[in-house]
Amino acid sequence: MATFEPVLTAGIGELDLTDIDVYERNGGFAGLKKALTEMTPDSVAAEVTASNLRGRGGAGFPTGRKWSFLPKDGRKRYLVCNCDEAEPGTFKDRMLLEKTPLQIIEGLIISAYAMGAAQAYIYIRGEFLEGSRIFRRALAAATARNYAGERILGTDFSLDIVVHRGAGAYICGEETAQLESLEGKRGEPRLKPPFPAVAGLYGLPTVVNNVETLGYVKHIIERGAPWFAAIGPEKSPGPKIMSVSGHVRRPGNYEVPLGISARALIEEAGGLLQGRKLKAFQPGGASSAALFEEDLDVAIDFDSLAAKRTMLGSGGFVVMDDTACMVACAMTLTRFFEHESCGQCTPCREGGQWVARMVARLEAGEGTQEDLRVLGVINNTITGTNLCPLGDSIMPFLGSVLRRFPEEFAAHVAHGGCPLKQTASVA
């Protein structure tokens, strides 16, 4: 760890990187200048492909490959920057938006250049009003200095960037729901195929990339693909911002090389609170299955976590110690998915609702043996039966803690409530 230098988060907390002068003095726009004046769009795209960068928004799809799906048929194409961060436990994109918006703009313009997009949108979560204001000011400053807008840096490349703020809906982080929302509709995910690369925004070829992903594009262009590819595991390389929260001493965003162990990441965040023991942790947001003490040496990267039947997701790493009631944790998360289901698919809409009700019942001490039996088998009818990943996110956490702590769930039935008598658990 001592040898790893943060890249995307460099300067945050010490410098006011929203100020374009400060940003310029600290390496700002070097990647943009290099891409637009020394490289062709194809060579920029080739560099990103060679870096093996995988999407930082949750799905981990290779970014270069995503771009390569755009048909070369002369149609107009769009780039949409996904800043609709709402996965519980994740707070990295909001930090990037508020603290280093010019870096997002730079990565976005380089990426639009690589894919030949003349129009870009940034979809900012509705709750991020302050972030959207900071971003608008940064965009105006960048445009005034010709880093954005018409004939950027005197080249033939022009890019119009429109800031679009959402109005409250987790599902709009899913890329096809985001496109629907950007078109002024209900944010209901589309049936795929066709994928957005072929028929996206307004029916035209579109790429949707996460904020953090676009940020790394800038650094890959500046430092070269080999630099990025050499960090971490070969198939899951690069640095990643992990949002660490819950029962640790120093919750926060930590930019770490992928491949770091869960144990080391928890240490980065100051370790557990005094006198507490680890009970469970979620490596990749509310949608990810929990891991436990015996899993602390797992490498934090896409493939190692997938091998443990969980996921890196968006990097929302939530730590639960021995004061946390697993039934209460499962209650908040199943309630979350029930609340956020768009309602299109029956297994997600109805299944999510019944699961949340059963878990709430257990938590309140009104659960039955029958609830436990149903929760043990309902996975088969909910997971893998929906248009988008939201429905598949209802069961992983609940299933993992049910399997690991069956006695805790049973005790809620036997005891008529929580035997831990958990109260606010931070000293």
Binding site: G89, T90, G126, E127, G166, K185, Y202, V244, S245, R335
Partner: protein, 164 residues
């Protein structure tokens, strides 16, 4: 429709290749002025983007930050999801509800305060957190909430749901 609203509608429509993309920004603009999405705003929006009022209502109903009835001058949204729960959100919620005398989704009798428990606000490192009129407040203990409340009441009136 008022001329000012019509002009704003035209500006927002001009940002996009298709008019309907301006629907949510336009409703946010109307809500900033009226405090919620009024029936008039729904009709105005339908005219601005070229769809029916029924369609506007259906779309608006999808989004939690578009209020369909008067909410309050102070909209208080407290996170209830996992990371905040692990760091005392329930104590904070209990305190706020007692202090304001209202529950989840309720408005105080004088129309000043609206309280809601919401899903993760992406500020888990500073839990428990809340938003007041879309402004973040972090590490909110019950005592810290009381100070915030005093400060909000001393502030000059401002839109509860600013558009931009």
């Amino acid at each position: 429709m008022t001329p000012a609203r019509q002009a704003r509608g035209r500006e927002l429509v001009a940002r996009y290749p298709k008019a309907q993309s301006a629907l949510i920004p336009f409703l946010q603009y109307c809500q900033e002025q009226d405090g919620y999405v009024t029936h008039t705003a729904i009709e105005d929006a339908a005219e601005v983007v070229g769809i029916t009022p029924g369609e506007v209502e259906s779309i608006a109903s999808f989004y939690t930050l578009l209020f369909k009835e008067p909410a309050g001058k102070h909209i208080i949204q407290v996170c209830r999801t996992l990371s905040c729960m692990l760091r005392g959100a329930e104590d904070l919620q209990t305190h706020i509800k007692r202090r304001l005398g209202i529950g989840h989704f309720e408005t105080s009798a004088d129309g000043q305060f609206y309280y809601e428990e919401v899903e993760c606000l992406a500020a888990c490192d500073r839990a428990p957190c809340l938003q007041h009129n879309l402004e973040f407040h972090y590490d909110v203990t019950p005592a810290a909430f009381d100070s915030l409340l005093d400060a909000w009441q001393a502030q000059p009136p401002q839109p509860a749901m600013p558009a931009e």
